[in-house]
Symmetry: C2
Subunit: 242 residues, 2 copies
Amino acid sequence: MQTNKPTLYTCISPALLHLYDLKNAVVVIIDVFRATSTIASALKNGAKFIIPVDTVPKAIEISKKIDAIAAGERDGQIAEGLQHGNSPLEYTPEFIGGKTLVLTTTNGTKLLQMALDNNADTIISGSFPNLSAVCKYLVEQNKNVVLGCAGWKDRYNIEDTLFAGAVISRIKEHFSIHCDSSLTAELLYESHKDDIIGFAPKLTHYHRLVDRFGLIEDIRFCLTPDAADVLVVYKDGKLLAG
Amino acid sequence: MQTNKPTLYTCISPALLHLYDLKNAVVVIIDVFRATSTIASALKNGAKFIIPVDTVPKAIEISKKIDAIAAGERDGQIAEGLQHGNSPLEYTPEFIGGKTLVLTTTNGTKLLQMALDNNADTIISGSFPNLSAVCKYLVEQNKNVVLGCAGWKDRYNIEDTLFAGAVISRIKEHFSIHCDSSLTAELLYESHKDDIIGFAPKLTHYHRLVDRFGLIEDIRFCLTPDAADVLVVYKDGKLLAG
């Protein structure tokens, strides 16, 4: 059990984040449906940067000040008072290229703020669309890692844990991993990696997005590895392509 | 999605218990290694009843007052000041038959208190040794169910979730289940049900108990379905054979 490798833990709900030491760790914010998929999409398609904020009024206020696009969702829909939502497919190069986005979401933005409040060493964001970039960065950094699943209003969800499993499956030999959450994530991913999109209809969040809002194309994008393969780093209030 | 069946949820950490409505639910306290396995063992072997308490001094005080056996563990060992611990194998018919046990443990006792504080309708305790009794009771009651995993100091652990999966696997057709935690529990159980004891060395808690304290026989007992198949119901401060 003795090793000089850095540790890797998976935190399966924001309500458990306080159990992990973030001070010496790279924290990966994971909100597969859809915040961190949308963030990767927007940056891959040329957004200058993204400012994550916690409320709609703040999103509107900041976007006016700096001539940015205000966007966000609440409970899976475009938030009241905003014109743009949390669909990764909205952020085409034509729409977002060269622009700044101010984004507020239900779960991902909240977890990012919690990671900041808990003095995370470094924060990046990850989802299937930027899986390879996340893995490459974590191996290069050679620091402790906490894979932070945003979940749904503090409840565990499978899609975020599945992405944690995809990361673990690719880079586990570089880390010391003694964590039942990480083992569960890896087992879930290994059992379903050959047909993640076929597995998706079993997830509660799928029903929220597809049955209610018809967002099947969003789901497909969010579960496609390297569909927007860009490293996303949080620095001084901004999410930037790294 | 419309159904008249009662709901079933799995709560994978005590830190998430507040997310569930316990008022109209049977809550199953699950602490496989080892509290709820030991409780089943003691009651199956003839203990009159068990008084769960949160501190060692309280266990000693109550046991003196009512001429009971005080027992408990902290961090996997017999708690300081007590003569008996949390091993299900300690509680043979010769030792515990006709006696009362006052028990304090790291995780299970705490979760039970939380279920009380959250006004659970009914509380029972479950582990592999009383799997059939738990399933039979839940189906008969025809009420909403919350499978409450005690975890380890608020962290998720696999063994408690695995037991939740065993319950779900047996009785799912009687309930309406839309919960990613329950799906994960069921998938974990279905993947490992043919060799749960062979899977155990991968679990963090296994190392805590076996590598440090050599408790391999405890582990085997705790993972054996129906090794002490008795229904355990909490009523007026006591855990009783139902």
